[in-house]
């Protein structure tokens, strides 16, 4: 191709000043725009490349390109089959000139220029269609006086296939170089080698290779000396980026110039030290998070385990309480149940077992209080229903009311129990008895019929019939029925009830001897812990017999005393038993012992008028036994005053105590007889 002469005018516009260089794609001249008086660069495209130019539209696209690191293309024309491109004249030197002088650039400079080249290429590659420079090399990179790069001589050919014009050996990608084997080159469906934007990435890598090594890469990739074989004063990270850009196989190369730019922009983050730091941060974070997760998991497991342990401890307490109940140690049992309730107040089994223990302890007031708590609390009530215990709770409450002789309330509770469990014959039995005690004999009879229908035993039936007979004052029938019950029943509770009822019936009939006989029989049948009520009743019966004033009175008082003392010694005595013991001792003339008991009761129950009342009667009897001259009723008056004061406070329901009335009569006599003088 013939060159142009200095002064030659092209297209009547551009006058050639000098030749700037001869590249793979064509010869570049410095020219002056005649009218604008401005230097431009005119590139005369080589003929073999010019043949690739097809349309005017491509030229228009090139003219529209505008980028900081690209020269502006002004014109594009064809004269005599020669194609010319007119663009900005870039003052300064090309990178090649610096490299030929052996200038070694600092890492910082290389990175800055590499980024600028990437930005320029990214701009070209993002055009539609993408523009492939195809001839990136030091000679086509101008260093402006400002220190920036300008990528010149970009090719006029578009597209992504076939041979590209203007390539330079050493910088051209393998897929551009026909001499290279094409076995691992990307091909399209027709088998043609695909040359795309990645070729520019290779060329850029090769240019950077030249910059860092000072040597142009070999034309054949196989002959290129790997960067790590040089003793270079550049970071491994930069060399790794160059190495990746220069991969002969496009699959291992950067897939876009943007990827390469991204690595260059964050090159410090690719540094091994930075990566090590990040790894350490991630590792420590994962370790700590792992530790936290394990601890939280342990905490959660502990929470679940705590629940299970609490439930187990609760069950243990309840079971211990039940064992105490079996052993008759009700106070210890109640303590266990209270501890269980303290652990879980929403669980009902401890409440229920405590209620049962209290019912065995003959504490009807506490049983009722607990029953009201259980039945009024919606949650506890529901749980009792779930456990089929509600009927039993109502039944025990009914028994407690029955024990307190509140038969109306007992009937209500028994009915509620039957609402929850309608096939309980024992509940029917006790309901019938409660109705009988209320003198509702018809109702009792009707319930008895229902009880029989629900399988009430003959012994239980006889018990109810005995109660009915007792209400009708048919004492003979009552005794017969209770006797039948004692003989037929195998339930100790029912038999004991029959024993008591039989004894009561005999008492009502005025037959104290048979009453004592029955009670002695009951006492001998059952042990003291199980049958302390027999001892109480028997003591009372002996005392009554003693009060009849027969020759054997002292013997009966002694027997009564023995019964009461057995109860007091075993801790099973009620308050009334203590008073009865004092009275019996008084009847036997054992005044000191009687006084001890009463003083003890006064100390323990300072609000109870009965102890000072009995003490006044006792002291009066003691004084009565002395000679008239020696009598001093001062203590009697003192105890009386105390008892009278407490008695007034106690009489809220208006009931009168015959013994107190008796004492008041005695006091009147003492004042009337001038044994005592009233203080004004």
């Amino acid at each position: 191709m013939a060159g142009m002469r200095q002064g030659e005018i092209l297209d009547n516009t551009y006058q050639i000043v000098e030749e700037l260089g001869d590249g793979g794609g064509g010869v570049v001249y410095k020219a002056i725009h005649i009218r604008l008086k401005k230097y431009v660069a005119v590139k005369m495209v080589k003929e073999n490349v010019a043949g690739l130019i097809n349309t005017r539209a491509e030229a228009d696209i090139l003219k529209n390109l505008k980028h900081e690191y690209l020269p502006q293309v002004y014109d594009f024309f064809q004269i005599d089959r020669k194609v010319y491109t007119v663009m900005d004249f870039i003052p300064g030197r090309s990178l090649e000139q610096y490299l030929k002088k052996g200038v070694r650039f600092r890492q910082k400079q290389i990175i800055i220029w590499a980024r600028q080249l990437c930005e320029a290429l990214s701009y070209l590659h993002h055009q539609d269609p993408p523009i492939i420079h195809s001839d990136i090399k030091p000679a086509n990179i101008m260093i402006t006086p400002q220190g920036n790069i300008c990528l010149i001589d970009f090719n006029i050919s578009f597209g992504a296939e076939g041979q590209m014009g203007g390539m330079s050996s050493g910088y051209a990608s393998p897929e551009q170089v026909m001499s290279m084997t094409s076995t691992y080159m990307p091909k399209d469906a027709s088998g043609k080698i695909i040359v795309d934007t990645r070729s520019d990435i290779y060329s850029l890598g090769a240019t950077l290779y030249h910059m860092v090594t000072g040597r142009k890469p070999a034309g054949d990739p196989k002959d290129i000396i790997p960067l790590d074989e040089y003793d270079l004063d550049y970071s491994d990270t930069l060399l790794a980026i160059i190495n990746k850009a220069m991969q002969p196989n496009v699959r291992y190369r950067y897939q876009s110039v943007d990827d390469m730019l991204k690595d260059l922009m964050s090159i410090q983050k690719l540094d091994p030290k930075y990566k090590r730091q990040k790894r350490m941060e991630a590792l420590s974070t994962y370790l700590c998070l792992g530790g936290i997760l394990i601890c939280l998991a342990a905490s959660f497991a502990g929470f679940r385990l705590m629940g299970a342990e609490k439930a187990l401890a609760y069950r243990d307490k309840v079971e211990s309480g039940k064992q105490y109940v079996t052993a008759g140690e009700y106070d210890a049992a109640c303590r266990m149940f209270d501890e269980a309730i303290g652990m879980d107040g929403e669980e009902v089994s401890a409440y229920y077992e405590k209620m049962y223990a209290l019912s065995l302890m003959d504490e009807p007031g506490q049983v009722l209080s607990l029953a009201q708590k259980l039945t009024s609390d919606r949650q506890l009530n529901e749980r009792l229903k779930e456990g089929s215990l509600l009927a039993n709770v109502y039944y025990m409450a009914g028994n407690a009311c029955f024990q307190q002789e509140d038969y109306g309330e007992a009937v209500e509770y028994y009915r509620k129990s039957l609402e929850n469990r309608s096939d309980d014959p024992e509940c029917y039995r006790d309901l019938a008895i409660a109705l009988a005690r209320q003198d509702d004999l018809e109702g009792a009879q009707a319930v008895l019929t229902q009880a029989r229908d629900n399988g009430l035993t003959s012994a239980d039936t006889a018990l109810v019939e005995g109660e009915l007979a007792l209400c009708r004052k048919d004492l003979t029938t009552a005794i017969r029925k209770f006797t039948e019950t004692v003989e037929a029943s195998d339930d100790d509770y029912v038999r004991q009830r029959a024993f008591f009822l039989c004894a009561r019936t005999y008492q009502e009939a005025g037959n104290l001897d048979d009453m004592i006989g029955w009670l002695e029989n009951g006492r001998d049948t059952y042990g003291l812990p199980q049958a302390h009520t027999f001892y109480t009743m028997l003591g009372d019966a002996y005392a009554l017999k003693g009060q009849q004033g027969t020759a054997q009175s002292d013997t009966f008082f002694q027997k009564a005393k023995a019964c009461y003392e057995q109860l007091t010694d075993s801790g099973l005595a009620s308050l009334q038993v203590w008073y009865n013991l004092a009275m019996v001792r008084q009847s036997l003339g054992e005044y000191e012992e009687a006084r001890d008991v009463l003083e003890q009761l006064m100390a323990e129950y300072p609000e109870d008028y009965r102890a000072p009342m009995r003490m006044a009667i006792l002291e009066c009897e003691v004084e009565n036994g002395k000679d008239a001259a020696l009598r001093d009723y001062g203590d009697v008056a003192e105890y009386y005053e105390k008892a009278a004061k407490l008695y007034e406070q106690d009489r809220v329901d208006g009931k009168t105590d015959p013994q107190m009335q008796q004492l008041e009569g005695i006091m009147r006599q003492l004042y009337d007889g001038k044994w005592l003088v009233k203080e004004e």
């Binding site: 990175i111 410090q268 700590c288 936290i292 601890c295 905490s299 959660f300 705590m306 342990e309």
Partner: protein, 47 residues
């Protein structure tokens, strides 16, 4: 103290401990990273 409560309270205590360690370690690493970034900035002269 039961095993359950030991696990529960120990777990919470351990989690708090690890959290504190993580926060302290993060602060230490943040300082180290800042120093490293300064060093890398000098190395690569990245603006």
């Amino acid at each position: 103290m039961t095993l359950g409560s030991l696990l529960f309270f120990g777990g919470i205590g351990g989690a708090v401990f690890f959290l504190i360690v993580m926060i302290v370690w993060k602060i230490v690493l943040h300082g180290k990273r800042r120093e490293l970034m300064k060093e890398l900035k000098d190395k690569y002269m990245v603006s």
